[in-house]
Symmetry: C2
Subunit: 369 residues, 2 copies
C-alpha cells in the first residue's frame, strides 16, 4: 500500500473513525483502524461490533493495499504531524512508514485478517432528514435514555416513522421525551429502536448543517446512516417498544405559563442544597400569579418566587430536580407551558403545536414545610 494525502483530510477521517473504536474489548484487533485502499478510494474503517464506521478520504493512490493500525497511536501521530502532505507506505513485513516533511515514523501494522467488517445493509427502505434536524433531535431526547442495561429497550431511542411524520421518543421509567418532526414525503410506517450510544456518537460526527442531508436506511436488524463521506452502521434493538401514549390525556386541572430560563435557573439553584445521591425533591408551590420554588435540606433552604400565568387549581407538587433541568435545558422556547392533574399524576411540558412533549413523574414529598 502506498498513498498520500493532506494532514487535515486524514486527521478528519481518523477522528470520525475513532468514534467506533471500543475503549475496552476482548478482540484487540478492534482497537485498530483499518485502512483499505482499492477501487480508487481510501477508506478508514472501525467497528465495535455494535456499531461500525466507514469513512472515505481524498488522496493519491500509488499502490492498493490493506493495513490495520492501532487507532490511538495512529490518531496521536497524525494529530501531532506538521501541516502538509503526508505519505503512508506499508512494507511486506507490515511496518508502516508515515512521512511528512523531514520526519519519518515507523509503526507496526497488522494484516487485519481477523477484523470484523461492517455488515452489508440493503438499501431498500430509507428516510432523509437534514444533519441539523438529526443532531438536534438526538440532543433533545438522548438524556432520558436509561443507562441501565437491565431493560435493553430503555437504552434505545424510538424512531417512529408514520406517513410524513417522524416521532422520536426516549424514556427511562421516570420521564418521557417526545419530539415530532415533519418529513418531506410519505413513507411506509416503521418503528426503529436505535441504541442511544450509536446516536450519541453520530451526533458528535454530524456537522449539523441545515443544507446537508443524512440518508437513514433500515432493515430488520440494522440501521445505516449515510452523510458526507461517511457511513455508520448499527444494530437495532429488537422488541416491542412501550405503549407510552396510554399516559396521554387532554385533561388538566392546573396549567402554568412560565419563563423557561428563570424556572431552569431557579431549579439549578435548588440542587445546590441536595447532596449527591440524596433524592431530595424540589417543591413547586403553584399560587395565583406566581410559583414558589422550594428546597429544604440539611444543607440549607431556598425559597424563590417566579411570576407565572395560571389556569385552574393551586397545587403543591414535588419533582426530582434533575428531570426538570434536563427537559428545560433542551427546549428553545422562551415561554413554556406545564400541564398537571394533581401531585401524583405526571406533569406535561408541551408546546401548542406539540412539536415536543416532555413528561416528568412527580415524587412524593412531605407536605409540612
Amino acid at each position: 500500500m502506498k498513498i498520500s494525502c493532506s494532514k487535515s483530510e486524514l486527521l478528519n477521517g481518523v477522528n470520525i473513525a475513532l468514534k467506533a473504536v471500543p475503549n475496552r474489548t476482548t478482540m484487540n484487533i478492534l482497537e485498530c483502524i483499518m485502512i483499505i485502499v482499492e477501487n480508487g478510494s481510501i477508506k478508514l474503517i472501525s467497528n465495535d461490533t455494535e456499531m461500525g464506521i466507514e469513512t472515505t478520504i481524498k488522496g493519491n493512490i500509488t499502490e492498493n493495499g490493506i493495513i490495520a493500525l492501532d487507532a490511538k497511536l495512529f490518531s496521536d501521530v497524525i494529530r501531532k504531524l506538521p501541516e502538509g502532505d503526508i505519505s503512508i507506505e506499508v512494507k511486506d513485513d507490515l511496518t508502516t512508514t508515515i512521512k511528512c516533511m523531514k520526519l519519518k515514523f515507523n509503526l507496526p501494522g497488522r494484516s487485519g485478517d481477523d477484523f470484523v467488517m461492517l455488515p452489508s445493509v440493503k438499501k431498500d427502505e430509507s428516510i432523509t432528514i437534514s444533519q441539523f434536524t438529526l443532531k438536534e433531535v438526538i440532543r433533545q431526547t438522548i438524556f432520558s435514555v436509561s443507562d441501565n442495561d437491565s431493560n435493553k429497550l430503555m437504552t434505545g431511542i424510538l424512531f417512529d416513522i408514520e406517513d410524513d411524520k417522524l416521532k422520536v421518543v426516549s424514556l427511562d421509567g421516570h420521564r418521557i421525551s417526545i419530539r415530532n418532526i415533519g418529513l418531506r414525503k410519505q413513507y411506509n410506517n416503521r418503528k426503529l429502536i436505535i441504541p442511544g450510544k450509536t446516536l450519541g456518537e453520530i451526533s458528535k460526527i454530524l456537522s449539523g448543517e441545515v443544507e446537508k442531508e443524512v440518508n437513514i436506511y433500515y432493515t430488520d436488524k440494522h440501521v445505516l446512516f449515510e452523510f458526507d463521506n461517511t457511513i455508520l452502521v448499527s444494530r437495532l434493538i429488537e422488541g416491542e417498544y412501550f405503549q407510552y401514549n396510554q399516559m396521554f390525556s387532554e385533561k388538566y386541572d392546573t396549567k402554568i405559563t412560565i419563563n423557561r430560563k428563570s424556572f431552569l435557573e431557579s431549579i439549578e439553584r435548588a440542587t445546590l442544597l441536595a447532596k449527591e445521591g440524596d433524592k431530595k425533591p424540589v417543591i413547586i408551590g403553584i399560587e395565583d400569579d406566581a410559583i414558589e420554588v422550594r428546597m429544604n435540606s440539611t444543607i440549607g433552604s431556598l425559597n424563590e418566587f417566579i411570576d407565572v400565568t395560571k389556569e385552574g387549581n393551586n397545587l403543591q407538587i414535588g419533582f426530582n430536580p434533575k428531570f426538570l433541568i434536563d427537559a428545560l435545558r433542551v427546549i428553545d422556547d422562551e415561554e413554556i407551558k406545564l400541564y398537571m392533574m394533581n401531585a401524583k399524576a405526571p406533569c406535561f411540558i408541551e408546546d401548542d403545536e406539540k412539536k415536543y412533549t416532555y413528561i416528568v413523574l412527580p415524587v412524593n414529598f412531605n407536605q409540612v414545610r
Copy 2:
C-alpha cells in the same frame, strides 16, 4: 451582620478566597470562608495554615459582624445567583440569609471562633514588581519544582534578591530553571524560599497586567504579597538553598542554534512512542547543519531532521523528553541556543543576555540504533 453588594464583586472576592481553602483538612473550620465586617470594610478570609488570603470587597454595611460559611457551598450559591444586588444578613443563631431579587437562601453559619487567623507580618522589608512579571516568572520556573516532599527545599522556588536584581530559581535534581529580573531600585540582599504551591495559587489570582504592581514583604518566617484588594501570606521554607551555580561554566564543546517551535514539536512527537512511566530517552544526534531527533521503542520509531547552526563538535546525547519540553514551552524566543560539553554533562539552554538559563541533565542511552 448585615451587608449588601453586587454579585460580581462578591463572586470575584469569593473566587480569590477559595484559593487558600484546603481540599482536605482535619480542622474543618478551615473549609470555611470567614466574612469579617468591621471598620467600614468587608473582608473575606481563608487559610490552609501554610498560606492565607484576605481580600476586601466593596459593599454597603448596615451592621458589623463575623460569620464563617462553608466555602464550597457559599461559592456555589453566589455563582448561581442572578446578576444584581445581594444582601447578606446573619441572625443570632448564625443562620445566614442571602437575598437576591425574589429569592432567599438560608445557610447555616459558624462563629469562626476556632478559625486560624492570618499571621501578622511586619512590613519592614519589601520589593515591588509588576503583576505581569510575577505571573510570568512563576510560569517559567514552577514546572521544575519537585512535588516530592522528602526534600522540602526542592518544593520551593528561590527568590534571590541581590542589589537591583531578582533571580528566581527552581530545581528538582534533574534540571534547573533560572530567570533573572531587573528591579527598579537597590535592595538589601536576601534569599527567600517560597513554597511552589503558594506561587501556583498566587499566579491564578494575579490579573497579570503590566501596569499593576505587587508588593512583596518578607520577614524571617513569612512572605506577604499585596496586590489589588488582596493580601496573601505564606510561610517561607527554612534552610540553606542549593549551591546550584557550582555547575556553571563558560566552556562548551558543542553549541547549536535552533528554531524553538520546530524542536519542541519534534520532541512532543517523539514522546508518542514512549509508554507512560517508561523512561525512554529521546536522542539528539548533532551533525554539521542539522540535528536528528530519534526515538526508538517497542511502539515504533521516529527519525526527524531539523536544520540548525552548529559550532564545535558533533555529539549524540539523550534526554528525558519531558524535561526538554517543559523548558522549551516557557521560552518565548523564536531561536534558542543549546550549549553542551559531552553526552554526560548538563546541557544549558541560555539566551545571550542570560535572562534565562535552563539546565537539563542528559540520560544514558544505548548508542546502538
